[in-house]
């Protein structure tokens, strides 16, 4: 049985890699092949034909599309995705200096959101139909259905402007002490957490309530168990798989949220780097950042899948 499980997991991992490869083809086709002559773009309309030809040669634009893709791919895998067309700096260095900041932001947010969302989601399932459940669910629907930047803007308005608890801008560059760091981190983490918690709470609640419809819960009820015992001792252990799945999927919303939050708070992370690169049409940088985000997304989705495979024996027979 364990062998079967291992094979399934390995299969899922290979599938993730194949998806990532397919995504890289799409990303490179859109950014590298379709827009036309990058050398012309970089030099402008009044470039001499010689300069154009030289730059084309240097950028490898004389080769065919598939050749350029393979070159870019092998370079990226070896940690050298090319040079920024705007600043001329190696893309790897630009990303290397920003990535830790983003990971720190995402890690902080996840560390706060996951326990909070689980507790809220389980409480909602426990007291479903109560005013608490209604209020929390309504709040979650409202947060989930508006764009992330509204939640972030609202958080600034409440916590930084009206209550004056926290500074509105953050930058991890001017951090002198731990307390200082916590303060400059608080707003971005708080806004991001609002979005994630709402998602995760909804999915956790749904996962637990789904279990409550099962036949064994009927039996538990007939035996006269209290609602708390029914949810915590019987439904919850069986919902661990779906909940783990929900957590991993909700964390993928971090990726979308992080873009908005880094821009709104001027946070020196990789998402801000990418948005600036898009505005300046710095293709090598856009490609590299996009691939990092897509890889992170696919990893989370794959983890979510693995959680449900491990937790649900029925999925192992497909």
């Amino acid at each position: 049985m364990n062998l079967l499980l291992l094979r399934l997991i390995a299969g899922r991992l290979v599938m993730g890699l194949v998806s990532l490869l397919a995504v890289s083809v799409v990303v490179f086709t859109i950014t590298g092949l379709l827009p036309g002559d990058a050398a012309q773009e970089q030099l402008g309309q009044d470039a001499t034909p010689e300069a154009l030809a030289a730059l084309r040669q240097q950028m490898g634009l004389t080769q065919s599309g598939p050749e350029r893709y393979l070159q870019w791919l092998s370079g990226s895998v070896q940690g050298n995705p090319g040079k920024s067309t705007v600043s001329g700096a190696p893309v790897a260095d630009l990303i290397g200096s920003r990535l830790p900041n983003s990971l720190l932001l995402a890690g902080f947010t996840a560390a706060i959101s996951v326990p909070l969302a689980l507790v809220l989601g389980i409480l909602c399932a426990l007291w479903r139909g109560s005013w608490f459940d209604r209020a929390a669910s309504m709040g979650a629907v409202a947060v989930v259905s508006v764009p992330e930047f509204l939640v972030a803007t609202l958080a600034v308005l409440i916590f930084a402007v009206h209550l004056r608890w926290l500074p509105a801008l953050s930058s991890s560059a001017d951090v002198s002490s731990f307390g200082h760091m916590l303060k400059s981190f608080a707003m971005p983490v708080l806004s991001l957490a609002c979005v994630i918690v709402a998602q995760m709470m909804r999915m956790t609640r749904a996962a637990v309530i789904d279990q409550l419809r099962a036949a064994y819960i009927e039996m538990v009820k007939l035996k006269g168990a209290t609602p708390a015992r029914m949810v915590l001792a019987h439904a919850l252990p069986n919902a661990v798989g779906p909940i783990a799945n929900a957590v991993a999927l909700s964390l993928s919303y971090l990726l979308g949220g992080v873009i908005i939050v880094e821009v709104i708070f001027n946070y020196p992370g990789i998402a801000k780097l990418m948005v600036d690169a898009v505005a300046q049409r710095d293709m090598p940088l856009v490609q590299a950042c996009a691939m990092i985000f897509c890889a992170a997304y696919l990893i989370l989705v794959t983890v979510a899948d693995l959680c449900s495979i491990v937790a649900n024996p029925r999925l192992r027979h497909q």
Binding site: S19, L34, P35, P147, L150, I260, V275, V278
Partner: protein, 297 residues
């Protein structure tokens, strides 16, 4: 390769809605929250359609008033960072936020439905190839795909419409295909086939009428996604370009007003929130669906 259905978890709620007896139910069958959603939605669509003729002030005139003026009788939502009337800016922006999103949603749903029906009726390699291709697009987060397309092609209004349509076609395709595959296996479709009807007839006359309910619900959800995506892009400065402005750009432009109480930030933010929440209310309360039945008691 079967990409997990859970990739876009929100999509699931559209499929779970059982087909309603009528695609658009009578007003009397709507619940109270559903009606509220309908009213707000109708209001915004009216503003988007008639807005340009109703503006109390010019949406671009920055002479008369001061910058970031507070709420007053002449300027119910205050003025923006250049002294323009916020109410007029919002009414003008409705055209972009709602118009662009509506066209993109219709395009995405039309393309997704057509491809989904074709895949279901043809099956075989056509279905397999199309599904794999669109699965790849789905495994790119929508915001990431949007950024990549905007980086490559710029952000004219035409491009934004095309971009949003491309981003959301695969999601619609998957739902329509899975519904259509089931209906394609029904006896009455087999009968039609035996009768010698062509593929186009089966797609349009046999399958399409049986999936209009879920299709409409999915269209509503997708409209919300498109509004959110385009507003987010504009907020990042990569969507609708000035001097034109949708509600996302209005929030971005006036972020400076936050420190001063910020009517000019809150008003466009509220406009987006009421629009998206109204659509969600309508979808969640579509009469005849499982969701509505659950909320009724």
């Amino acid at each position: 390769m079967s990409t997990p259905a859970a990739i876009e978890p929100e999509v699931a709620s559209a499929t779970s809605a059982a087909p309603a007896a009528r695609a658009v139910p009578r007003l009397s069958r709507w619940s109270r929250s559903g009606l509220l959603g309908l009213v707000v939605l109708a209001f915004w669509f009216f503003i988007a359609a008639a807005g340009p003729w109703l503006l109390p002030h010019s949406a671009t005139d920055m002479g008369a008033a001061g910058v970031f003026e507070a709420v007053s009788f002449t300027h119910p939502f205050g003025t923006d960072y250049l002294g323009r009337d916020m109410l007029s800016r919002i009414m003008d922006g409705a055209r972009y936020t709602i118009g662009v999103a509506l066209i993109a949603t219709l395009l995405a749903c039309a393309a997704g439905t057509l491809l989904g029906l074709l895949a279901a009726v043809n099956g075989g390699w056509f279905d397999a190839a199309l599904s794999r291709l669109l699965d790849t697009v789905v495994s790119i987060p929508s915001k990431m795909l949007a950024l990549v397309i905007v980086a490559a092609f710029g952000s004219s209004v035409t491009l934004l419409v095309a971009m949003a349509a491309i981003v959301y076609t695969p999601g619609c395709y998957r739902i329509i295909r899975s519904l259509a595959v089931n209906i394609n296996a029904m006896d009455y479709v087999t009968v039609a086939r035996t009768r010698g009807e062509g593929r186009a007839y089966i797609m349009v006359r046999e399958i399409l009428p049986n999936i209009t309910g879920p299709l409409l619900a999915d269209m509503g959800l997708r409209f919300v996604y498109v509004v959110r995506l385009l507003a987010s892009l504009s907020f990042l400065g990569l969507g609708i370009q000035p001097p034109a402005a949708d509600w996302g750009s209005l929030v971005r432009e006036n972020l400076g007003a936050l420190a001063m109480g910020g009517a000019s930030v809150i008003a466009p933010a509220l406009a987006i929130a009421t629009l998206t929440i109204a659509v969600n209310l309508v979808i969640d309360n579509l009469p005849g669906t499982a969701q509505a039945a659950r909320d009724d008691h």
